[in-house]
């Protein structure tokens, strides 16, 4: 049987928790009994510099170690990185893009063969968490829009890493993003 493998590429800027976001997704997949691999492609680490992180999720052990060139999903943590074709490069037909922005998807030049969802993650973070921590919200939005990851499994990872009040606030924001994106696509 050919293993089912899903690939996710995360685009963000140094300091936005891109690598942690990839780890949340891998951990949640693991919690659900799947195999997962998450890894970053750094420049030298600097705040604000573009960072890419990758996730593979599969029902079989993952051997492939190259970067992700033909993702099923894109998570764009900073809309200013959305410069069109470069960012969408390799996205599979029918692939989904989740963008952190207050703008509607129609404001972005996404070809019809893809699906796009936007989520005001920065706004939600400031409103609910009180700090611009967006990665938990973005993975929540991804889970809602894609159906690939269970919210409970994500909550478990967030709670383990950020026990206490901050983590609980992040989880409230994450749930909100999950519900919002789920209703958008259904």
């Amino acid at each position: 049987m050919v293993p089912l493998i899903k690939e996710i590429r995360i685009h963000g800027r140094g300091g936005q928790g891109n690598v942690t976001a990839s780890e949340f997704l891998a951990e949640a997949a693991f919690t659900d009994g799947l195999y997962a691999q998450a890894f970053p492609m750094f420049g030298s680490e600097r705040h604000g510099a573009p960072v890419t992180a990758y996730v593979r999720i599969s029902d079989a052990p993952i051997r492939l170690r190259s970067q992700v060139y033909e993702p099923d999903y894109l998570i764009v943590q900073d809309a200013s990185l959305f410069t069109g074709d470069d960012l969408l490069d390799g996205l599979k037909d029918g692939g989904l893009v989740v963008i952190n922005t207050e703008q509607p998807p129609s404001e972005f030049d996404v070809p019809d063969r893809y699906r796009a969802v936007t989520v005001p993650a920065t706004q939600l973070a400031l409103e609910i968490v009180g700090k611009p921590i967006i990665n938990t919200i973005m993975v929540g939005a991804f889970a809602g829009a894609s159906g690939e990851i269970r919210l409970d499994a994500l909550e478990k990872s967030v709670r383990e890493r950020y026990p206490g009040e901050l983590g609980e606030k992040e989880i409230i924001a994450m749930r909100r993003a999950f519900e919002d994106t789920r209703s958008v696509l259904s």
Partner: protein, 394 residues
């Protein structure tokens, strides 16, 4: 227990399970997370060891030398320039037969400065008298540390566990972390054959003149040759106790009837196995030989594994400038005096973190199927950039 962990963190967990008495390191990307995590475990009371933050890699190597000489189980980790700065001490640790274990988070060597992965660092130190093993994935990297301490202490030879920087050190993946009782039963406390103590003074690393130096080198060489069997035994015993076997010296993958065999080491093997499965489905007789142990060099095992192939392509992330890939030259030596020798070619890939894609491996394999001429290639180089540079040079 199955967990999902970043490679560095997994290695720190496995190293802690080995109960080192002294950990000493100097931080360098991409090794840093390993020693950071060990420091955290120490602070949390999960690790009972002396932890020395060194002021350079030279000091770090010197501290573990001294610690090991007093009979303590000693561990360090480094990368790239850090490893090269340790060079003098590395020879001393081996020459004094001290069973230090070190993780090398493989990284390119400057200049130009580059923090990303290749294997030039450890391959450049292959002659310093340390056993060298290369891990294919995070699980194997973790398991290899348990085996490394056991082998090192049984033979009094230091062991370097090499894992690809970033690709493994920064990859979060599923890993089975054994329980402490299981590790304790495989790896008993270190009982040194000799150690420095004021109660019974001895000298280590004293002068040996022309009348004795050569015999001591010969003894080291013989001990290293004998280490092959110890590595085989250790891997077999590990398989018995932990239920995991990832090879000992070399390990084949779909190789039995292969006309073309690709040889490699480290994390490249995962991507290569994916490609070989695809090529096999298309009917191409391609297989893989994984080199798990680079020192002692498994010459006989490689001859046995490769001699029936028509073509061999050695794919590696290092180069002996002016010659070819280092492993490739060594594999040629396995066929010295043989009447039938496969055509052996060298493919240097992935230097300085250049991503190695499935299509790169596919191109190498298909190229060897259609043209078995011996050659030396750097795969994935931008020839337009090279052409421009040549214009300027000329």
């Amino acid at each position: 227990m199955r967990r999902i962990l970043e490679g560095s963190r997994a290695v720190a967990e496995f190293v802690a399970l080995c109960r080192p008495k002294v950990v000493c390191a100097y931080p360098i990307t991409p090794q840093t997370h390993i020693v950071e995590d060990l420091a955290r475990m120490l602070a949390d009371g999960r690790l009972d060891a002396g932890y020395v933050l060194a002021d350079s890699e030279f000091t770090a190597a010197s501290v573990v030398l001294g610690a090991s000489a007093t009979g303590a189980r000693a561990y360090t980790a480094t990368s790239s320039q850090g490893l090269l700065l340790m060079t003098e001490v590395m020879f001393n640790i081996a020459g004094m037969r001290l069973p230090v274990v070190m993780t090398v988070a493989n990284r390119a060597v400057s200049a130009p400065i580059n923090i990303w992965n290749d294997q030039q660092d450890s391959m450049s130190l292959r002659d310093c008298g340390w056993i060298q093993m290369y891990a294919e994935d995070v699980q194997e990297a973790g398991d290899m540390h348990i085996q490394a301490f056991e082998i090192a202490e049984r033979l009094n030879i230091p062991v370097m566990v090499c894992m690809d920087g970033y690709i493994l050190t920064h990859a979060t993946e599923t890993v089975d972390v054994p329980g402490p009782e299981q590790v304790d039963s495989y790896l008993p406390p270190f009982e040194p054959r000799f150690y420095l103590t004021p109660d019974d003074p001895i000298t280590l690393g004293s002068m040996a003149g022309p009348d004795a130096y050569m015999e001591i080198r010969m003894l080291l060489h013989q001990a290293m040759q004998k280490a092959s069997q110890a590595i085989v035994d250790s891997a077999a015993r590990f398989a018995g106790e932990f239920g995991r076997f990832r090879g000992d010296l070399v390990e084949g993958y779909r190789d039995s009837d292969a006309e073309v065999l690709l040889v490699s080491m480290g994390s490249l093997l995962g991507t290569m196995k994916e490609v070989v499965d695809e090529l096999r489905d298309e009917g191409h007789p391609v297989g893989i030989i994984k080199v798990r142990t680079v020192r002692p060099f498994p010459r006989n095992q490689l001859h046995e594994a490769l001699h029936n192939a028509r073509v061999v392509g050695v794919v590696e992330k290092d180069i002996s400038l002016g010659l070819e890939g280092i492993l490739c030259s060594e594999i040629r030596s396995a066929f010295c005096g043989a009447s039938l020798t496969p055509n052996i070619s060298s493919f240097v890939v992935g230097l300085g973190g250049r991503d190695v894609r499935k299509r790169d491996i596919r191109k190498i394999a298909l190229g060897l199927l259609s043209d078995d001429t011996c050659r030396v290639e750097m795969t994935g180089v931008d020839h337009e950039v090279l052409w421009s540079a040549h214009q300027i040079e000329d």
